[in-house]
Symmetry: C2
Subunit: 347 residues, 2 copies
């Protein structure tokens, strides 16, 4: 029920997904009458939907703290309950991000060993898979060394299951690649990650910079949620600006307008490659259940992309693999800490 | 002598500048024989240059701490000395940023009242002036509330003198625009800035997000140097990626190649608008002297842009205006603090 475009855009996205994936089914949460009216307009969709009546709506302006107190009875709460009960393999929402994360933590609870859950997003890149993973994109504005290590392991697991990479390369976002750069918690994680990478079977490439987000030297970029959120929005804003400048450049003369007409296919391919709707769907990592956050302004195509992501992660059994990975991380963290205090004791 | 392209690119930039600005003169620092050879190849340049022999070179890999200990006798040290003595109105360098900032702080000293100097950069934007100012771009990875307020005042002064804006609009970079978002030091600065803006005659627009960096709702974006550096490099990296994707799109078929040929003028205009070399020149704010940091990989055009910025700021008497502005900031800060403790006392 949330999102800037309301439930019509969500139902339109469901219809797109239903057409492409014959075995997908939906549990839809919100005011029954409104949802029934929207769903009945799409042929064949009603048979694949269970509607759960929920009168309340979390608005885009509600503060997470308010939602935690008064969220029961909202469509968001109801959607998370269906994941909690095991009825649904994943929840998809384009509502208020802060409220969704707060309610997810309250109802689904954090995985044992996870201190701060994270939001992972996909970033268009020069890699063969077309995208890199960045996390945290804004679940929490803080992250200590242990959080960054957990993000590395969760992001790596997501890249393995979501992008099909056997041995993901993980980097830590910093203001330079030299060992002495960055904040204390980053230096600490940087020291611990090589040993963890060796045991957990991924490559740690060290510090990376903002310019490496789309680069082919890394698959997973780890950072705190403040930096990640600013980077994400800066990247989106820059891509949008270049797109506007390009349109203005082509609208400038008759000749350039004619050229744009000739290059239509190429320009459309470019647009598709940069289209944020194609990579729509931040995923919440570190909870007992899969939650996909669709963009607040997502349209039918955007919501279909988010649903597709949830569907594929559900099919791959990602949630269990992630939990196993985090459990391993705890064991590894303990091992690394033991080793560290051993060597400190010896020094 | 620093930079990725060595002194040849610097001298080429000087030659470009000299042609455009008949009254510009240079004091050039480095090994005399090498510089004389490079300068003598450019007609008319030698007469406008004083060479200061300096055998040492700060390399791009030197740590700032090393340079502080052993920097005397380097071309970077010598260039800063010419600003310190008043012989030069500004120093321009495309060398090691960390070392340049450390040496600048050592030799030029911070302006009274400035705790952390900042690097300000220009960001292509939708504003009539074509650019927004962002600071800090990486001088210091930390910033407390008072630093953020000083950045706001220095950035505002730079926008007034460098971009000719009578009443710059200043925003604070955050992960959302709501008052309750962000780190504690940001919330504190956010509370204090409306009163300071009123007295110092600028507009405080409140929190802005990464997507607002190129926006027309703000002229000056204030943030800590960690976030600023990541945002800057993310923006550059994204613009570069879009450019590559565009070239690939146009190289895709005979038709699109033909279209690219027809649209050449428009594409060149677009490229010029996004060209980072045109906005080359981060400026160090908060020191007793003007230092312009040219990009490490700057070519002749890039270095000419950095020299032009130094030249225009020198002509406008920017350094004195900035010092006056910071002095006012100290008085204002005291006033705001007094007011605050008054009202706290009354409450």
């Amino acid at each position: 029920m949330g999102g800037d475009r309301g439930p019509a855009a969500v139902v339109a996205g469901m219809a797109e997904s239903a057409e492409k994936n014959p075995d997908i089914r939906f549990i839809v949460h919100g005011p029954r009458a409104e949802l029934e009216a929207l769903i009945s307009r799409r042929s064949g969709l009603a048979e694949r939907c269970d509607i759960r009546d929920a009168a309340g709506v979390v608005t885009m302006d509600d503060k997470p703290s308010q939602v935690l107190r008064k969220g029961e009875g909202t469509s968001m709460w109801s959607a998370l309950e269906s994941v909690r009960s095991g009825e649904a393999v994943a929840a998809v929402s384009c509502g208020n991000t802060g409220a969704l994360m707060a309610l997810s933590m309250l109802r689904l609870r954090k995985l044992p060993g996870v201190n701060r859950p994270a939001i992972a997003c996909l970033w268009p890149s020069r890699n063969p898979q077309g995208f890199n993973v960045m996390l945290d994109c804004g679940a929490d504005i803080r992250a200590d060394a242990q959080d960054l290590i957990t993000y590395a392991l969760m992001g790596m697991s997501y890249a393995r299951n979501g992008l099909g990479l056997a041995r993901p390369r993980v980097g830590l976002l910093n203001v330079g690649t030299e060992d002495h750069k960055g904040r204390p918690e980053m230096k600490q994680a940087h020291e611990m990650l090589p040993a963890i990478a060796e045991t957990a079977n991924f490559d740690y490439v060290g510090f990376v910079e903002g310019g490496d987000l789309p680069s082919s030297r890394v698959d997973v970029i780890v950072t705190d949620g403040f930096t990640g959120n600013v980077a994400l929005k800066t990247g989106e804003g820059t891509a949008k600006l270049v797109g506007e400048f390009m349109r203005e450049a082509f609208a400038n003369s008759i000749l350039s307008k004619f050229a744009a007409l000739l290059a239509m296919t190429s320009l459309k391919r470019l647009q598709k490659r940069m289209d944020p709707r194609r990579v729509n769907g931040g995923i919440f990592l570190g909870l007992n259940g899969t939650v996909v956050k669709s963009h607040g302004s997502a349209d039918a195509t955007g919501n279909a992309a988010a649903i597709k992501l949830a569907y594929e992660l559900g099919k791959s059994g990602f949630q269990d693999r992630l939990a196993a990975r985090v459990a391993q991380s705890i064991a590894l963290g303990a091992a690394v800490n033991d080793k560290k205090s051993d060597s400190e004791g010896a020094a």
